[in-house]
Symmetry: C2
Subunit: 238 residues, 2 copies
DNA sequence: GAGTGGTCTAGACCACATA
DNA sequence: ATGTGGTCTAGACCACTCT
């Protein structure tokens, strides 16, 4: 077996829901039926169903069953951690990346706080413009703790840094804290982006942690107002 | 026993983390130790720890233990479903609500889609201005399916509608889908809010579902640019 | 009463980290 | 080798819905 049992059940059910084989507001097989179908124990089935519920695929109702939610209505895929490349590809848009700045720096006091490092810890600084449909709409300012990313090149930054980090370096991204707000545009924004007369810009600050709970990346992503959108699925209580 | 065992373990650990009794980057007792401490089974302890992990309180590391995360750094509490009243109270700010419009209407075609109803289903329409520090900064446009909210009054709308829905009507809010973007200001915005010369406004669309998976509320919340902020904690993968 | 999901148990084996 | 968290099992009892 290559995979965890509960994961394969989860993935199979996701596939069935996304493909329309299981339609919104219809009932899933009961837990006992799934136990027989997958020849496993009930807790394992329940683990898969809990994941489906938390990710917005189904609603479990006690005494009745598990019902498929209409996932087609909210699948604009920025919920969670998604790289620009993944996003652009999902939306089927032509896209590109321009590396404006690439350097190994000694962090100033503000960045020391943000990355939780001292001035002696070298930090990679990468400033990139994201282009979609021929327009420069996002300015990404990435800072990586060199302790966890010993080698980085301009060529890697032109592609997907995350692919490099996960596949080549084997880093495991575990969680992130995101923060959004609207800020005034800076000279830097005007230099690197196609702004209209906008005085404001949407800022997404992103603190990314590895699976050993160490902070290794701080990113500030500046989005043109008209090109920003975020979708979130949230369950209440616990 | 008034509560589920795993919930009480979860809540006790949350309390210890928030009070500083368990400090960031220290280790939690191991699962086996917690089993003894709470006189329960390991799966029950694990259920509590999984919740702590998903809510950003701890990081579990295989072979090592569970470590407390620094929750003080990201506690601006808009992650998830939080009412304006709860938020204002948490921030300790003086606040108020002005009910601009309160009516029972027949939904137009756009609203029919948004609330998933027909023109024959009556809908409560509530437009409220939220005031903080003497400034009108948020315009809330709420629409409730009357099927689930048979009675509503202007007085209730001046307080917390959610308190009424949950405590008096016994409705159980289960999940919500949120969507953010920046829109241009309308005449309505200018009428009900203290806008400076802003041409734009942050729009949060919120679709709220009950625990029977029925959509019962659609809210459009329009925030003045300089007063909008959103914080999100996201775990990657599953 | 039969069927559903929710909680809980006691035990097993595995993968990984540390010494 | 020991201790840690990750997965899985087979069974139990409960709360709820529907007929």
């Amino acid at each position: 077996m290559y995979e965890n049992k509960y994961l394969s059940i989860y993935e199979e059910l996701v596939e069935k829901i996304q493909s329309g084989q299981l339609k919104p507001s219809t009932k899933l097989p009961s837990e006992n039926e799934l136990v027989k179908e997958y020849a496993t124990s009930r807790e394992t089935v329940r683990k898969a169903l809990t994941m489906l519920s938390q990710n917005g695929y189904i609603q479990k109702i006690r005494g009745k069953g598990s019902y498929v939610l209409d996932v087609s209505k909210y699948d604009f895929p920025i919920s969670g951690l998604v790289s620009f490349k993944e996003l652009a590809q999902k939306m089927g848009k032509p896209w590109g990346t321009i590396v404006n700045e690439f350097a190994l720096i000694s962090p100033d006091s503000q960045l020391q706080k943000q990355l939780n490092v001292t001035e002696k810890d070298p930090v990679w600084k990468v400033i990139r413009t994201r282009v979609m449909d021929g327009e420069k709409i996002i300015l990404d300012k990435d800072f990586f703790n060199k302790k966890y990313v010993p080698i980085l090149t301009k060529e890697i930054c032109e592609g997907s840094i995350y692919e490099y980090l996960e596949q080549d370096l084997g880093l495991k991204i575990s969680f992130a804290k995101k923060e959004f707000f609207v800020d005034e545009t800076t000279a830097e924004d005007r230099m690197f982006l196609d702004l209209q007369d906008d005085k404001h810009i949407v800022v997404v600050k992103n603190y990314v942690y590895l699976d050993n709970a160490n902070l290794f990346q701080y990113t500030e992503s500046r989005h043109r107002l008209d090109k920003f959108r975020f979708v979130d699925f949230a369950r209440r209580g616990h």
